[in-house]
């Protein structure tokens, strides 16, 4: 039993921390938030050099071959820095290919993705559907030996800059479609989080060759989904950590009634609550990340617990930080709103806290009433 980062993981953490702190100062995040795609290719090239796009992808396909704990370390730092980057979307696409693709698909799509030369983006949720996990409605119509896609996907992250999409269809199949394919139209959708862009993607009679449909069936995507949940929950934990630190610093400096406001228990107890939520989120995230690497049977429950808890903490802690800051925390000029928005967006996607809690309830109720093992 050893629940801490290894030296190697500490090294990943400090490299990421220093790199991201140097790149993403407040002015830079604001510039990117106002830019067309919300991030810059030159930053991406540097991240690719650090090996981040393939961090948790198999070495066989050009990745670093590290685990989900390592990925969580990186994403916690991405959240801490509020890094505007397509790393999350392409990582999820990469995990899907690694776990569910054919060797031919891995050769053509995963290998360039792992080195950062190409990026993928999931296009899963159907317009006019609740956008909760599972139950895609887009039909995959047979067309000769291939498939034709018609319909509109929404809430697709980084779709305007991805090289290819992983499109989910009714029955749970996934298809690889180039962004430039005939019949594909990408439209930006303004979202609350300016540092991570959302798009809708229309597919009008888009033809998919048989070799571009992944062989896996729906249940095989659960391990991908739960790993994605861990990554985004790690990012939310970083957001909580950073905004808690901002609140504590401010509470030490800001004087009212002749004292630093952090001396008042209404403020200091709020900060203690922020620490509790941040540490709980971190424990849940690394517990689930470890399960992904070492104890896959417990991953579904652990990942739902982590995503549920970090979904709440990821926006409540920035919100509490805004309250500690008072008026200045409510201004555009202060950075807190960017963190709050990312935290809220993270909470809403990949199953919100309510959705994951319902899954947790299913499991714990079933376990509690199961006959005791002999």
């Amino acid at each position: 039993m050893y629940f801490d980062l290894t030296d190697e993981q500490q090294a990943i953490k400090s490299t990421a921390h220093d790199f991201l702190a140097a790149r993403y100062k407040s002015e830079r995040i604001r510039e990117l938030a106002a830019s067309e795609h919300g991030f810059e290719q030159s930053d991406w090239d540097e991240m690719a050099e650090l090996g981040w796009p393939g961090l948790a992808l198999p070495e066989e396909w050009g990745g670093q071959g590290l685990g989900i704990v390592d990925l969580a370390v990186l994403f916690e730092e991405m959240g801490y820095a509020l890094a505007p980057s397509p790393l999350l979307s392409t990582t999820i696409a990469g995990l899907a290919l690694a776990l569910c693709g054919s060797d031919d698909q891995r050769e053509r799509f995963l290998r360039p993705l792992a080195t950062g030369e190409k990026r993928g983006a999931p296009a899963l949720w159907d317009a006019d559907s609740p956008a909760t996990p599972g139950g895609f409605t887009m039909e995959a119509k047979a067309d000769g030996d291939g498939t034709v896609l018609d319909g509109e996907k929404v809430l697709a992250v980084d779709a305007a800059t991805a090289d290819f999409f992983l499109v989910g269809t009714a029955g749970g199949k996934r298809h690889l479609v180039d962004r430039g394919a005939d019949g594909v139209t990408v439209t930006a959708e303004p979202s609350i989080d300016l540092t991570r862009r959302l798009y809708s993607v229309r597919f009008d009679g888009v033809r998919v060759a048989p070799e571009d449909t992944l062989p896996a069936e729906e249940p095989e995507y659960f391990p991908v989904f739960f790993r994605a949940c861990v990554a985004i929950a790690a990012e939310s934990t970083g957001i909580a950590q950073r905004t808690m630190e901002m609140a504590v610093e401010y509470a030490k400096d800001r004087q009212q009634f002749g004292r630093p406001i952090g001396a008042y228990q209404a403020v200091s107890h709020r900060c203690a609550q922020m620490l509790l939520e941040t540490e709980n989120a971190r424990s849940a995230v690394y517990g689930a990340a470890w399960a992904a690497d070492a104890e896959p049977d417990s991953l579904p429950l652990a990942a739902s617990m982590a995503k549920a808890y970090a979904s709440d903490a990821g926006w409540r802690v920035p919100d509490a930080s805004i309250q500690v800051h008072g008026g200045i925390g409510f201004t555009w000029e202060h950075d807190l709103h960017f963190f709050l928005k990312r935290g809220k967006a993270n909470a809403a996607t990949l199953g919100d806290a309510r959705w994951h809690r319902d899954r947790v309830a299913d499991r714990v109720l079933a376990e509690a009433t199961a006959p005791a093992p002999a």
């Binding site: 039993m1 008042y264 203690a272 709980n280 424990s283 517990g287 070492a294 617990m305 809690r357 109720l365």
Partner: protein, 392 residues
């Protein structure tokens, strides 16, 4: 990172598990405190014979010298199987470790063995009616008289004082010194005319705690622990010891209670189905499980940190706070699931689970008060973990 037990830790867990299964004496008697104490003395005797009493104590003092993780496994497994408490909880968890850390050779010789056997029960005389969270302001006076100290004052919340032979007493020996400096730690014989223990009936109707009145009670100078004037730092070690071991027992206890909560939800009719099908109840049941899991994982992280640094950090305060909060909410939710039946107490024909949740609900009110109030824990976290300024 490795959250699994090593082969030797697994082996240890299996040894504990098997021993407990074979020796578990069943549920505690419900007839009264006297019977409970007799039952627990007998249980501690069994534990001692098998070498489980004083599991954290070094071997040279009759303990087992177990590692932190082994202690965690033992406490966790005992709570999982709902084994009774030993009779001398405070002697084992605090008295012994204090004598080992600060006592003289004569004191070690005299006191340790009867703690392990439960021949002599220990109690703790720290809190006073006017000194609760601000413990260092305590007023009980000890005045030197030849080679004795004469003690006058009052203590409160003294668990099992009526059965105790020895009291870990902190008293003021130098009223002129700053409040933390003028205190001394004594071992006071409870069996003397100047000491009177009166049970304090609590909201559950039981009398776990006592008030202890001292009127010119006498303590030989040889019973000072850690030197005159060092009472505060000696007392702090005992509080650290109290907190370090508790977490893993608390975690198993919460996990048992959550299981019962789930069973209650499955068995209780609600809106044409069961409470386990009610979306609101499901959300709350799940949230409690999630928080309990974060508490468990936090405790493992804390344990790893303590193993690296040698001392438990102030982060332990988070666990105590969280434990109180989760424990209270489990009982609150259970009563909500019971609905109108929540009014019925033990002994009522239609009481749910014979009033067990009513007891938990009432008893858990003290969880955020005993052993450091949640409000004070938040202060500790704010000041010592986050580095926020002190109001005082």
């Amino acid at each position: 990172m490795d959250l699994s037990l090593s082969p030797s830790e697994l082996e240890f867990r299996d040894e504990v598990r098997t021993w407990l299964e074979e020796n578990h004496p069943g549920p505690e008697p419900e007839s009264g405190l006297e019977e409970v104490m007799a039952f627990r003395r007998e249980w501690q005797g069994k534990l001692h014979e098998a070498g489980w009493a004083g599991i954290s104590w070094p071997k040279e003092y009759g303990g087992r010298g177990a590692t932190l993780i082994e202690q965690a496994i033992f406490v966790g497994e005992s709570a999982r199987q709902e084994a009774p408490s030993p009779a001398n909880v405070l002697g084992l968890a605090m008295g012994g470790p204090v004598v080992i850390a600060h006592g003289t050779d004569e004191q070690k010789q005299r006191y340790l063995e009867p703690i392990l056997t439960a021949e002599e029960i220990w109690c703790q005389g720290f809190s006073e009616p006017e000194s609760g969270s601000d413990l260092a302001s305590l007023k009980t006076r000890a005045v030197k008289d030849g080679d004795e100290w004469v003690v006058t004052g009052q203590k409160v919340w003294t668990t099992f004082a009526q059965y105790a032979k020895w009291c870990m007493l902190v008293a003021r020996t130098d009223p002129e010194a700053p409040k933390h400096k003028g205190l001394t730690y004594f071992l006071m014989d409870m069996d003397q005319p100047g000491v009177e223990a009166k049970p304090l009936v609590q909201i559950t109707g039981e009398g776990e705690f006592n008030e202890v009145f001292m009127e010119e009670a006498r303590i030989p100078d040889a019973n000072v622990v850690g030197g005159v004037g060092n009472g505060w730092s000696v007392a702090i070690t005992t509080l650290m010891n109290e907190r370090a071991g508790l977490a893993f027992g608390a975690i198993s206890q919460i996990s048992n209670n959550l299981k019962r909560l789930c069973q209650l939800a499955e068995e209780t009719r609600c809106n044409g189905g069961t409470a386990a099908e009610d979306p609101v109840m499901r959300q709350r049941i799940a949230q409690l499980h999630i928080e309990a899991e974060t508490m468990r994982l936090n405790a493992y992280r804390g344990l790893t940190k303590t193993m690296q640094s040698g001392i438990p950090g102030p982060e332990g305060s988070l666990g105590k706070w969280q434990w109180a909060d989760i424990n209270q909410r489990i009982a609150e939710l259970a009563l909500e699931i019971e609905g109108a039946y929540a009014q019925l107490d033990r002994g009522a024909e239609h009481a749910v689970s014979n009033g067990a949740w009513q007891y938990s609900f009432l008893r858990s009110r003290a969880n955020s008060i005993e052993g450091g109030t949640t409000d004070i824990l938040k202060n500790i976290i704010a000041e010592r973990v986050l580095g926020l300024p002190r109001l005082r």
